[in-house]
């Protein structure tokens, strides 16, 4: 398997309160050249703020957002609700992927029932899961 199998995405966001998980996400994405740029946020509120500020700067709008569920202050689901209030350009260009350690089937249900969520994968992120994300992205968005 070559490390450069992916055609790298321009920008990926990693939203997770756990620093190690953000590190894993960043390292895996970099290692497999999945994206040219990864921006990490330790809080969903900060990620939301970023999207607000960059609404009109196309190159700063991510193609993929890896979103944790259990986070203090603003959870992954709260974040999804806020996203749905943003201009549709976000929903039309961002592929939101839940990346979680949750074992609760209710979380999976909630994610499946939310049309903004395109995929639900369990931690830790690895090559196979990146493959899956790419397939999901291709079936939902045009590159």
């Amino acid at each position: 398997m070559s490390n450069n199998q992916f055609r790298p995405y321009d920008l990926v966001l990693s939203v997770d309160d756990n620093q190690i998980d953000r590190y894993i996400c960043g390292t895996i994405v970099e290692k497999y050249n999945f994206a040219k740029r990864v921006i990490e946020f330790d809080m969903a509120t900060k990620a939301l703020e970023y999207l607000h500020e960059n609404l009109h700067i196309p190159e700063n709008i991510p193609q993929i957002i890896f979103l944790d569920i259990n986070m203090p202050i603003m959870s992954g689901f709260d974040f999804l609700e806020e996203i749905s209030k943003l201009p549709v350009i976000i929903q039309n260009t961002c592929c939101i992927v839940m990346l979680t350690s949750s074992v609760n089937p209710n979380d999976l249900d909630r994610a499946n029932n939310n049309f903004i969520v395109k995929d639900y994968i369990s931690k830790p992120l690895n090559k196979e899961k990146l493959d899956e994300v790419e397939i999901v992205f291709n079936s939902n968005f045009n590159r």
Partner: protein
């Protein structure tokens, strides 16, 4: 329902409490009545100057009553004594008033007083005394004994006497009847109140239980999440370390680390599943086996440390199958991952064949593998909690136990046929709730 209608010890104690209450209050009334009777005796003594009779009879009567009551406070004997005492008071008053007819009514007053104890038997002593008194004194007077003072009537023939006694008996009977009725009614009422109170208590306990269950569920969920989150981070770091190193020894260590982490992860997930299965209510929904099994198949692809296995899925039947999706998924997940985990290394083409036959009554699911197999003597043990075939087993010892528990909750059945070194087939039958 049974524990509500048949009185238990607690019920009886509750009723006894009420009875004691009735007794105490009645006893208080009786104290006043007895004083009144004594005073009436003294007043009557003034009219016909019968002081001697009044004192000689009243005082022993009062002492008989109070002595019995003091000596045997727990027994009801003093109430029977009271009944006799009231009868004799009547006789005393009749005698004191030289047979004045109105004094006979004291028999009825006594009878009425006794109703308060709600015991029809109390009417018996007074009735006997009244009958005996009337018979003896009436006969004596009839014989011409002038000192008897039974009746002011010049004579009392047998017919008058019989009517007189009959009416008295009717009154005693009625008073006894009412006493009995009141008693029964009161008991019913008490029981009802008690049952109501108990139901209320049950309701409260149920609510508490529901709340506790909910909290436990939340607890189990957050504990398993909090345990699992750092574990998954560790697994991620293991992956990265493994990926970045070329050192053989480190790679070897990473394999060992991953194995341990996987074991712990399985254990945490199993415990979470177990707690979910034992307390969550059944949630019925339509189940599409093709979809479900394909989803599981994809998950299995990520099972670490195992060689990929050829998973074949075959579903038959057009009936809609309705059951608890999460539980069915839990069962299949456990059985399929076991089939993969315990594959035979020497086999060139390890496989898992999953067949599902659905009809309107049930779904028959068979999961067949060509893995290491199970010895027949271990068939029943494998469903036991924490049972493991060997120390080398990779599982938590909970997987099949949870499968069995879950199948039981779904009111289904599970069986297996296996041959050591050849493979195992699990057969699960689940009722269709359609």
């Amino acid at each position: 329902m049974e524990n509500i209608t048949t009185p238990e010890k607690a019920d009886l104690a509750y009723i006894e409490g009420f009875e004691a209450d009735v007794k105490t209050k009645s006893d208080q009334f009786i104290n006043y009545f007895l004083i009144a009777f004594f005073v009436i005796g003294l007043l009557l003594a003034m009219v016909y100057d019968t002081w001697k009779v009044a004192l000689i009879i009243s005082l022993p009567l009062l002492s008989a009553y109070y002595v019995t009551k003091t000596l045997l406070p727990k027994s009801n004997l003093y109430q029977y004594v009271l009944s006799a005492v009231l009868g004799i008071f009547m006789a005393q008053f009749i005698y004191q008033m030289h047979g004045m007819f109105e004094m006979h009514f004291f028999a009825f007053i006594g009878s009425a007083i006794l109703i308060t104890y709600q015991n029809w038997r109390l009417q018996i002593p007074i009735a006997i005394i009244v009958v005996l008194h009337h018979a003896i004194f009436g006969y004596l007077q009839y014989l011409g004994n002038d000192d008897i003072f039974f009746s002011q009537l010049d004579y009392m023939d047998l017919q008058t006497f019989l009517i007189h006694i009959l009416l008295a008996i009717v009154i005693f009977f009625l008073c006894g009847l009412w006493a009995h009725h009141i008693k029964e009614y009161a008991n019913k009422h008490i029981q009802q109140n008690y049952t109501l109170g108990k139901l209320q208590k049950n309701e409260e306990q149920n609510n508490l239980l529901r709340k506790t269950n909910l909290e436990l569920d939340k607890f189990a969920y957050s504990v398993s999440h909090d345990l699992r989150a750092p574990l998954l981070s560790m697994k991620g770091i293991i992956d990265i370390t493994d990926m970045m190193t070329d050192e053989e020894i480190t790679k070897k260590h990473m394999v060992m680390l991953r194995e341990s982490a996987d074991k712990l992860d399985t254990f945490i997930t199993d415990i979470h599943n177990y707690s979910r299965n034992s307390r969550q209510e059944i949630k019925l929904q339509m189940i599409n086996f093709d979809e479900l099994l394909n989803g599981l198949n994809q998950q299995m692809a990520y099972m670490n440390g195992t060689r990929a296995v050829d998973i074949q899925i075959l579903t038959e039947g057009n009936d809609v199958f309705i059951s608890d999706k999460y539980r069915v998924q839990m069962v299949l997940n456990n059985l399929i991952s076991n089939a993969i985990r315990y594959q035979k290394i020497e086999n060139e083409n390890p496989y898992v064949k999953i067949k599902v036959k659905i009809n309107s009554k049930d779904a028959e699911i068979s999961i067949e593998d060509n893995g290491i197999g199970i010895e027949q003597e271990n068939y029943h043990q494998i469903f036991e909690m924490f049972y493991r075939v060997s120390d080398q087993s990779k599982g938590s010892g909970l997987g099949l136990y949870i499968v069995k528990e879950t199948v039981d909750v779904l009111k289904g059945s599970i069986s297996l046929t296996s041959k050591k070194n050849e493979g195992t087939t699990f057969l699960v039958k689940l009722p269709n709730n359609n």
